[in-house]
Amino acid sequence: MQIDSALRRRLIEEMAATVEAHCQELTELDQAIGDGDHGTGMKRGFDAVLAHADKLADQPLPAALRGIGQTLVMSMGGASGPLYGTFFLELGKALDENPDRAAFAAGFARAMAAVAARGKSEPGQKTLLDVLAPVSAALAENETPAGIARVAAEAAEATVPMQALRGRAAFLGARSVGHMDPGARSASLIIGAVCAVLEGTSG
């Protein structure tokens, strides 16, 4: 998979546009089982990435990913900032300039593990890990971009009946059941944005 500068730029723009379009939805999900700032936090983070799109896209893939992670860490401000930041930082460390599919799947798995370590969490606790984990599995199984986007969306939906065991939603105990996790939703949106761009290219 050749991800050149133009494609890197399109990926950044698409992620930022998707977050922008769903900012209110993320806010509402976080209002239901958190403090209501996940929409603004994600938007602040990806707006900052977009503001540096030229500089980021000009760098080779690993540096671009690390730059995105750094930018998210420094701008988001919530519990999810270091989690998204860690994901991109570690993905950038794991990949070389032209990762093949297997290398990408392995890098994704490594970045996910770093997120779990940062959050002291694991799948099943109603967090963004509940999206990352099935996506990681689908990547390893050579799923298409469209298929991966579907897996991510379904995984976010699957957090609805879960009880939160990490983050603020855990304060609500059983009342966290019946709502989609905001971080799971935002992860599915970011993954969906990336897949939409890649589906339009070679795949």
Partner: protein, 128 residues
């Protein structure tokens, strides 16, 4: 030099008020810095500001960081990882409540205790 204290709250008011309480107990005997609020001034935390606070309260004896909820902790962890390597080992996050922990940790630090002792005394609060 005494261990420094860094207070990281989601709320700028909590951070400042807790610092007032610390100052009342220990005066200027302990390096102290605080931060609260995200990049946009809302409730939250900012890695950049946490880094600034850690550097402002820096002591060769190390700094103990007091945080309130989840995001304050993970953002403080990120900030510590961004410190220069020689400082990284001497910045610790206490597993203690932010206000009570800051006062106790500062009282301990004002007596010249080591970073490990300051952290241990603050952490004890959570197991009482």
């Amino acid at each position: 030099m005494n261990v420094g204290i860094v207070i990281v709250s989601h709320s700028p008011k909590v951070a400042e008020g807790a610092a007032d309480m610390v100052r009342q107990m220990v005066g200027d005997s302990v390096p102290l810095a605080y931060t609260g609020g995200d990049e946009a001034g809302g409730l939250g935390t900012s890695v950049a500001r946490i880094l600034d606070a850690i550097n402002a309260a820096w002591s060769e004896a190390g700094v103990a960081v007091l945080v309130d909820l989840g995001g304050a902790e993970t953002n403080s962890e990120m900030a510590i990882e961004m410190l220069p390597p020689e400082r990284r080992e001497r910045a610790v996050i206490c597993n203690a409540p932010i206000v009570e922990g800051a006062v106790i940790a500062a009282a301990e630090a004002s007596g010249g205790s080591s970073l490990a002792k300051v952290q241990a005394v603050a952490d004890e609060l959570s197991s009482q």
